[in-house]
Symmetry: C2
Subunit: 355 residues, 2 copies
């Protein structure tokens, strides 16, 4: 049975990235060795890292003065690396979900934290507006896409202080004006590659301004100076990530991703609006194109397990909602084809008919 | 041409671990999805993590009261996680090479550090003896195998304070009396798996004793409580690591690894002693079984490039020495077959004959 991969992350990858990883595991670039056992100091792997950094910069039109890093540890590690590197006195956070809340909590270990706004009052179903960013903050932190709750910030905000964004789950889904950010970070395991590698884009002039001393692995400058090779990187993860970046470019880059992702999301949201059994969760103007959350209407709530089973029997993978929202979540990352979304829409229609 | 993989790490892995990774990338446990795009919260991957923890405990006979963690970031990250978690006032370090030195440097950010002994005076070619460990230290840190310099601590030391060991490059190469250690850590990319995953074995009762507050990702208790699934782990790396652990068990466990590794090292050191052109680097009683360092005798020093080319033409990979030692280094990790060492010995003999 064909599987439709709606996993929230780790998530669906382009087939060509998977196929090329298979080849590299058999024989990496004709070295006679597997990518799993090749030295990260070999010229062949060094080229992978250099190419990955260059291509990521190209895809996002990263301006002069910014550096790209690939490290291990996941976005959760960045939650404390960001304040460790940047927070001298005060930081401002926009709390739009669980990840934003965790990021804020880590910052509190390093200085004063101001929450400019939170959408916790409505279980994070919307993106707050009309807040004020303190001009004396060292930075302002946002989470652009809230994987669990299905909301997304779709514009590049104006901030009087360096803007720091966790873009784990919507990086490469639209052109981003990087010049409006001080730092962008995220785990690769949604739109960029497999789990195990984390990206950081940082404007160099915001670094080196805190009073505390930094451990080498925490200090972004360590990784800048070494071209992300200060210590052994997650070699095979970086390889698959580069293959994923190449696929994005071959498809037409982030503009094409935005077009496709918008079309996929519109298709699914239209069905959720139409379907008599279902309610979308996120408020209309805050909807994520990456993670679409929905629930059965209260009068049909008892059908939840039936719908899960119905969808599973048709090959729908990963559509159970996170426990903090309940219901359903379909993740529509870059590599998910439109026909997978159509299959889910058909599934929801057929379920409606049978009830 | 057959390649002999003497890389210092990432390093040679068992072929079956590579083959089973290939299968999992095509279809992970019959899920219809690749291990590169499967959810880490799926029951199939959860079993991988649970099995890896259990098997690692079994292979090393980890006693009650200890926990095993698998995290990202590499041993370099542990250099600061160890003092962050354990150093209240004072720590003691044995400095036997570059990695030990880097570990010590990170500890200095968190408290007083006493160097009990160092072998820097002879470019780390020996393991110091006869030092005193301060009984008021919070822990005593050692690096059991010095990948760059080719020295190794082959016994489980007695320490009056919790013994912390970086075993990145000799874990699983002999039975270890874990009960003599407070904490053991290392990158997986030598004897345990591919680059991208890091192991920690920790005695629980040494945790929670520092005054400072810890970031969630730094605090070992976070990963203990979540079974190493607090955040998204490096999924494919953990999979290949489990397959490598299974291979170790199938071969007869760490006792068998010790037998083979000793035999391989003896074979190569015997040739280095015999060969008229060559000197081994490490002092006799400090020699590593994992990384064998050697140089041409001073009178033949100009032949270095010739020997490298000669060996390369016979498929010897990764035998160039680290720049801080020069000469040559052959890494003889668990998965390297005896016949690879024999091939290197034959190569050195033939080179001698031709000069």
């Amino acid at each position: 049975m064909k599987k439709y991969n709606f996993n929230a992350g780790p998530a669906i990858l382009p087939q060509i990235a998977i196929d090329n990883t298979l080849e590299a595991i058999k024989d990496f670039k004709g070295t006679g060795l597997s990518i799993l056992e090749v030295s990260h100091r070999s010229k062949e792997f060094d080229a992978v890292m250099v190419d990955a950094i260059a291509l990521f910069k190209e895809l996002l039109s990263v301006p002069e003065g910014y550096q790209v890093l690939f490290v291990g540890g996941g976005a959760s590690t960045q939650f404390f690396h960001v304040p460790y590197n940047l927070l001298n006195k005060k930081a401002a956070y926009l709390v739009t979900g669980s990840w934003a809340s965790k990021a804020k909590k880590e910052a509190e270990l390093f200085g004063e934290v101001v929450v400019v706004a939170s959408s916790k009052d409505k279980n994070y179903s919307y993106i707050p507006k009309g807040y004020t960013i303190p001009t004396d903050a060292d930075y302002f932190h946002i989470t652009t896409n809230n994987t669990i709750f299905g909301t997304e910030i779709l514009t590049d905000l104006d901030s009087p202080v360096p803007l720091v964004a966790d873009m784990s789950s919507d990086i490469l889904s639209r052109p981003v004006d990087v010049s409006k950010y001080g730092l962008i970070y995220g785990g690769a395991q949604k739109n960029m590659g497999p789990a195990g590698v984390t990206f950081v884009i940082v404007r160099e002039d915001i670094l080196g301004k805190v009073d505390r001393k930094l451990p080498a692995m925490v200090d972004y400058r360590t990784h800048i100076e070494s071209g992300s090779m200060y210590n052994t990187p997650p070699v095979v993860c970086v390889f698959t990530m580069l293959e994923t970046l190449k696929w994005v470019k071959a498809q037409g880059g982030v503009k094409e991703m935005e077009k496709r992702d918008t079309e996929k999301a519109n298709l699914l949201y239209a069905e959720l609006e139409r379907n008599k059994l279902i309610n979308p969760v996120a408020e209309t103007d805050s909807r994520s194109r990456m993670n679409v959350t929905f629930v059965l209407k209260p009068e049909y709530a008892e059908l939840e397990k039936d719908l899960l089973d119905f969808a599973k029997a048709r090959g729908m993978e990963g559509i159970k909602g996170h426990r903090s929202v309940g219901g359903f979540r379909a993740s529509l990352y870059n590599a998910l084809p439109l026909d997978s979304v159509q299959a889910l829409v058909d599934c929801l229609k057929d379920f409606e008919k049978s009830h």
